[in-house]
């Protein structure tokens, strides 16, 4: 395996741990369309990986396979030592350890912000309600909007909604956070507030896979950048290496288009 970063998470002063997510030759079809054509990658503990690539390149599908929103059909995915198979016990365990943030926030519109956050701790981690509420308020403080706790998602701005979504995922105390284009649906002035929360999260040592087009975020925070195209990882490397000296023609073309 090449270009596995410099191995010590120098960007954020963290030491990377053992392998957290192992993906080996993962393949996935949608009908007659092959979305993943053998993705092999390893993400280590406390590592921040940024995934970029054109739309339809399979990058979202890959991270959705990691918490089984999509079932991969060939290959192996091992998350925190548990293999993702048909075993529902493993699926439940992995889902409670992997948090996910979506492009469209996907907050539950019929629940208040606080209820959005406390729902899963109460019913999956089986916390008593009072504890769950304490946890929820703590997380809302962390993402900076404790005053919005009793509002409904529809009353918040996009940036605030996405921060609630992040808090909601954190409420499950996940070991890994997946971000599926978290800022793509936001107005430019709101992108920063969400990225700040994500940076704070990265500095706290969370293992993160971030699908994004925010190159600034990638340069600043990522330990490693992966470039997806046509269902495979075309190129990967540290941000400096990746942005200054891309090897592949397709990477060069893609970077020239978005930078």
């Amino acid at each position: 395996m090449t270009g596995n970063g410099n191995g010590d998470g120098a960007a954020r002063g963290h030491t990377l741990g053992g392998p957290m997510i192992v993906s080996e030759d993962v393949k996935k079809w949608f009908g007659d369309f092959q979305a993943l054509k053998g993705v092999t990658a390893t993400v280590r503990e406390r590592e921040v990986v940024v995934v970029i690539g054109p739309s339809g390149s399979g990058k979202s599908t890959w991270i959705r396979c990691i918490n089984r929103l999509e079932a991969h059909q060939e290959g192996t995915i091992i998350v925190d030592g548990l293999e993702l198979t048909n075993d529902i016990k493993h699926i439940e365990k992995i889902r409670s350890e992997v948090g996910m943030v979506f492009q469209q926030f996907n907050l539950f519109p019929h629940l208040t912000v606080l209820d959005n956050i406390t729902l899963a701790p109460q019913w999956v981690r089986k916390l008593p309600k009072a504890e769950a509420v304490d946890l929820g308020m703590e997380l809302l403080e962390r993402v900076g909007i404790p005053e919005q706790a009793s509002k409904y998602p529809g009353q918040l701005s996009g940036g605030q909604q996405q921060r609630v979504a992040i808090a909601r995922s954190l409420a499950m105390k996940p070991k890994i956070m997946l971000f599926d284009e978290p800022t793509s649906a936001l107005d430019p002035e709101m992108i920063k507030e969400v990225l700040d929360v994500m940076k704070e999260l990265a500095l706290s040592g969370m293992t993160m896979i971030v699908v994004t087009h925010e190159m600034g975020f990638a340069k600043e925070v990522a330990d490693r950048v992966m470039f997806f195209d046509y269902g495979t990882i075309v190129e990967e490397g540290t941000p400096e290496h990746f942005f200054t000296n891309p090897q592949h023609d397709r990477t060069k073309l893609f970077l020239s288009q978005i930078l």
Binding site: F33, Q73, N86, K89
Partner: protein, 514 residues
């Protein structure tokens, strides 16, 4: 790379998502089927305890049912009585659908009219009719007609319109033997008319002049209808052709019937599976099939085999006809097809008489009391009660749909049309109605389905439709299951046909959209 897997033993069955998914589904299916099997066995044992046996022979046994109206008022067998009932149902349904559509559209537009009084009257109509149960309305109109004066000797004579407690009679056109050949001419006129209209529109596009397409089409139709009115006997050469086909069908071995059905089922299933596999084949190789995909393939295959097996099983059942012949179902189907072609052939006979016949209604002395004669058209009391109520009732719903559709379209389109400078009538015809039609078609199709099913309320006023006839036979013979199956078959087929027609137009409309 060394990866530590915390638990690597084989997944036990009770934790396997795929196993649980299919096991739970199959067990629910089995329990449900078992429930019905138990129910059915109980029913059979209760039936045999009461001496009733299940076979189809009862359908052709002579019965003493007298129907008040229909193509045959004294049917010789249950199956014949049910056929008469089915025809009566269709009579109400088809005429009701046409009338309800016209009335409903007018009222729906009236509901949006800028004319205050028209608007209020339409609103009042909708809010009243919609909120009273249809059955109450049927009973009410029946009571109203029954309360009319009866026919007396002084009434004997001819009328344009006459109402009495025997029903409502009016002048009407009826068709004769020459009608069907004439309709062939009219049909040809419609086809030619389509070409004419296309040609005129092309002329309009090329020259920019008004092309009067509708006048041209109407002219074509009139010419064809007029020629056909006199020329229809020319088509009598079709008669021997159809009789020949009928003879050929009668000569074909009956075993072909199940063979054709089974082949169609198997080939259909095979074709479906093949195209399904094709759809999963990619340039990069064969797509991996999920468990759901495999289920589809297995299900399609099973259905093909089951239908084929049923075709052979059912076609072997023997039935005694009214005449006492013992026929298999396959032979009966063959006989039915043959009779159909014979009937078609007879329709082209040269001695049928004028295509259409106009006659006034008449009151004649028949037996001890004056009654309506055979001329004109007579709506009996049950028919009138069912037809009138069902039409008004459905029209109220159609009116609301039409109103909703027009409102949905006209928002925002009004200014656009005015900006382009269209006249109001043009605006309605060219902009609003085509778009509104697309919105209102699916819900109106639903209303047609409701109307069709609501005809069954005729049983309340003893209108001889299929449910009323069926329950009479059911009371006489005790054959509940076959009758219920016939009802289900009839209504499901009818519903499928209506939704098929609606879906066809819906698709056509959608194509225009693209």
């Amino acid at each position: 790379m060394a990866v530590t897997v915390r638990e690597s033993e084989r997944t036990p069955l009770w934790r396997n998502a795929a196993f649980l998914k299919w096991a739970s589904q199959l067990s629910v299916l089995v329990v449900t089927l078992a429930f019905f099997v138990i129910l059915g066995r109980q029913a059979f044992s209760n039936f045999s305890a009461s001496g009733t046996t299940f076979d189809l022979d009862f359908l052709t046994d002579p019965i003493g049912v007298f129907l008040r109206e229909g193509i045959d008022t004294e049917p010789d067998s249950s199956i014949r009585a049910l056929a008469v009932g089915a025809m009566n149902t269709l009579r109400v349904a088809i005429t009701g659908i046409i009338a309800a559509t016209i009335i409903g559209t007018l009222i729906g537009i009236g509901r949006l009219s800028s004319n205050w009084i028209v608007n209020k009257v339409a609103t009042f109509y909708i809010e009243t009719i919609r909120n009273i149960p249809l059955l109450v309305q049927i009973f009410f109109w029946q009571a109203m007609v029954i309360a009319l004066p009866s026919l007396v000797a002084a009434d004997i004579g001819e009328y344009w319109f006459k109402s009495s407690n025997k029903g409502i009679a009016f002048a009407w056109v009826s068709w004769n033997g020459g009608f069907w050949p004439w309709i062939v001419f009219v049909g040809a006129g419609i086809i030619v008319g389509r070409f004419v209209s296309r040609w005129r529109y092309r002329v309009q596009e090329e020259t920019g002049e008004a092309s009067h397409a509708s006048y041209y089409v109407a002219g074509t139709l009139i010419v064809f209808a007029a020629v056909g009115w006199f020329a229809w006997p020319l088509l009598s050469f079709m008669e021997p052709i159809f009789h020949g086909i009928a003879n050929f069908v009668d000569a074909v071995p009956a075993i072909l019937v199940p063979i054709i059905v089974a082949l169609a089922a198997l080939l259909g299933a095979g074709w479906w599976i093949r195209s399904f596999f094709e759809s999963r084949r990619t340039p990069a190789g064969f797509g991996k099939l999920t468990d759901d995909d495999w289920f589809r393939v297995i299900f399609a295959g099973t259905m093909g085999v089951v239908v084929a097996a049923i075709a052979f099983l059912v076609s072997g059942i023997t039935v005694t006809t009214v005449a006492g012949e013992v026929l298999t179902v396959a032979e009966m189907i063959r006989l039915g097809i043959g009779n159909f072609f014979d009937w078609l052939g007879n329709g082209f006979a040269a001695d049928g008489g004028k295509p259409l016949n106009f006659s006034k209604a008449s009151v004649v002395q028949r037996g001890n009391f004056p009654q309506y004669g055979d001329t004109g058209a007579v709506m009996t009391v049950p028919f009138f009660a069912v037809w009138f109520s069902i039409t008004l009732y459905t029209a109220a719903f159609i009116a609301e749909i039409v109103r909703g559709g027009i409102l949905a379209v006209s928002k925002g389109q009004t200014e656009a049309a005015q900006a382009v400078g269209l006249k109001r009538s043009q605006f309605l015809r060219l902009i609003i109605l085509p778009q509104a039609f697309r919105i209102i078609l699916p819900p109106i199709g639903n209303q047609y389905l409701n109307l069709f099913k609501n005809t069954s309320l005729g049983i309340g006023v003893a209108y001889a439709e299929i449910v009323a006839v069926g329950s009479t036979i059911l009371n006489q013979t005790g054959q509940t299951l076959p009758i219920v199956l016939i009802w289900m078959g009839f209504f499901l087929t009818g519903s499928l046909m209506i939704s098929g027609v609606v879906n066809y137009y819906n698709r056509k409309m959608k194509l225009v959209e693209r």
